[in-house]
Subunit: 364 residues, 2 copies
């Protein structure tokens, strides 16, 4: 390592700055993946995850790879070739779901909404008479939009309801059991305040009854993984768990629960509101539809006059102030900024800092 | 975290104890996955990995999941349904290859050898007239056997040669380019002295020409990942890299190269020999065929008289001495011990400790 290490205020779309106790936990002495002490940490991690997901699902655990692997696990274990899968698409991660599902042989039925607008739940319900699955992103990291999930629990019928909670978990209200969600995955590097590397996953008993016996992926095979993580039957080795990352996630969930999940939601809401107000005061215009704006991920238009230097401005923020923010994706590259306030980064002082830096930079 | 943390001398089949500089690197301040400083660390990690793999392959990088995901990436990106894939099987990981390959639709042609014995390379070459791939495990973690790879480089013909290097990389001589290996994957928690969580992968240019355009796995799609990790064309975001684990692997590879790769091989060889001699002096009998014994992973018969208490003896080692060793797998559960000397664990002092503890335990 270099003697002087760069650190950043990570206000992009993830990773966030980890909670200090998480950074400490990463360095916890290594244990074997079958060590009784590690098994106890893993069990407690899953139990904490149930509390944060608000679920009683026994099959709740961290997938040993980043959030997109949680997405893949959610499709590859449940989708049979030819299954109708209805997917809401209003950003990059809805698009990604279509790609993943179609590789599993799904008959993908898209329900599109413009970027920046939410998906209409009724449209999802009406898109196909008997889909095997309805899938939607709760918090679209590419646009800063919150999609409504609650109505889908009642509208889903016989379908499995799959929700991408990568950027919502611990950041905004989410109730897996209360809302009738059958399958959900998340990431660690967003509102959980942990480094990237794992994908929290929860699978309802209703979904487990529909598990494929032998999915095309061995690494993500939930039948095999369940034997290791739940210890149902004998605890069978599947693959070597990423021990240090599980330590980190255990600590991150501990930090969230110590603060209180509802307090974590409230803190994200408060700093998001502070940022939205401050940006308006700077004369900047928010992108996401009002009423569906995420507090933890804010999208804001780059003023027209500055678009030619958009990347240079972000670079200046990074180099001069040590602040990372994100750029727009797809058609919005160069036109939007994406500002994250997630996990440990979701502090009022960071909003104050960013607004001050932007004021300097934009000379307002 | 509890105030008192358990630490272990990790002499099982992995994870090993990480190098101290690796544990420090885990706590390095978080950076974004598109931060120029992180991109530089990732590029240097890949360059170090090329040195340790002894390859010039541009597509050499850590897969964002544990070793078995490297195995899956190696099949899922190259195997078309109906392809003949010849696989050597003399332990758990050869078996796993068959499972993974068959899920990709391969016509799997097995070449079996008894556990504890090496695979005959000529038998692999003769198993099928024109296989798409020949796959074999270099160091079988389940049996402690080294399979011969060198002859396969000449015998492979038009097939791609895939080698599982999970337990061999940095532990015993391995020459990706020199031996004509087209595809190889490894793990971080073995002789690299790093926590588990990533899978080093290297892909020859010959193999890249045969990449499937759209493999069934999105997460492991090498076409897409290559755009992020190599920066060929524009550097396109694929998934969020597991930043802290990349920091750890960067440091682990640094430790290996600072010592010198050949010195690392020699250290593993020396402590392995010390252990083999010491076990013989205790009257214990080695399992793996002579001439094909791995120094980094030793299999030894549990004396017949002690087999009924095998698990209890390992537990006593763990609780009383803080030493983890592994048990046998499959038909050898309860009959074998597997002793790892990998990465930072591969120290003479650990051999001395284990032999002393075993002498106490076995009352010899």
């Amino acid at each position: 390592m270099p003697l002087v290490l760069t650190d950043r205020v990570l206000m992009g779309p993830g990773p966030c700055n980890p909670y200090p106790e998480v950074t400490l936990a990463l360095g916890r002495p290594m244990l074997g993946h079958l060590d009784p002490e590690f098994i106890a940490v893993l069990a407690e991690t899953s139990e904490r995850l149930r509390q944060v997901f608000r679920t009683a699902n026994p099959l709740t655990f961290p997938v040993s790879a980043t959030g997109s692997a949680g997405m893949e696990a959610s499709f590859v274990n449940f989708v049979r070739p030819g299954d109708a899968v209805v997917i809401g698409v209003n950003g990059v991660f809805g698009e990604r779901m279509c790609d993943v599902a179609s590789r599993c042989g799904a008959d993908v039925v898209r329900v599109d909404a413009p970027w920046g607008q939410p998906i209409d739940p009724q449209q999802l319900a009406d898109a196909h008479p008997s889909p095997a699955m309805i899938a939607v992103v709760h918090a679209e990291t590419s646009t800063g939009v919150r999609n409504d999930i609650v109505p889908l629990g009642e509208l889903k019928g016989d379908a499995l309801l799959l929700v991408d909670c990568v950027t919502s978990l611990a950041g905004i209200p989410l109730e897996i059991d209360g809302w009738g969600i059958d399958l959900a995955y998340s990431g660690t590097q967003k509102c959980l305040g942990c480094p990237p590397g794992l994908s929290p996953l929860t699978v309802s008993e209703r979904a487990r009854e529909r598990l494929l016996e032998r999915p095309s992926s061995w690494y993500l095979d939930l039948n095999m993984i369940a034997k290791y993580v739940t210890g149902e039957g004998a605890r069978a080795y599947h693959h070597t768990a990423p021990i240090s990352m599980v330590f980190a996630m255990h600590a991150a969930l501990g930090a969230v629960l110590e603060e209180g999940l509802e307090n974590s939601w409230a803190r994200h809401a408060a700093v998001g509101a502070q940022l939205h107000e401050g940006l308006a005061e700077l004369g900047l215009e928010l992108f996401a539809a009002e009423g569906h704006r995420l507090p933890e991920l804010t999208t804001v238009w780059v003023p027209e006059a500055l678009r030619s230097e958009e990347a240079a401005l972000r670079k200046q923020l990074l180099v001069q102030h040590g602040i990372e923010i994100g750029g727009g994706l797809g058609a919005y590259a160069g036109k939007l900024w994406r500002i994250g306030l997630m996990g440990h980064t979701a502090r009022s002082r960071n909003v104050t800092l960013l607004l001050g830096a932007l004021a300097e930079l934009l000379d307002r």
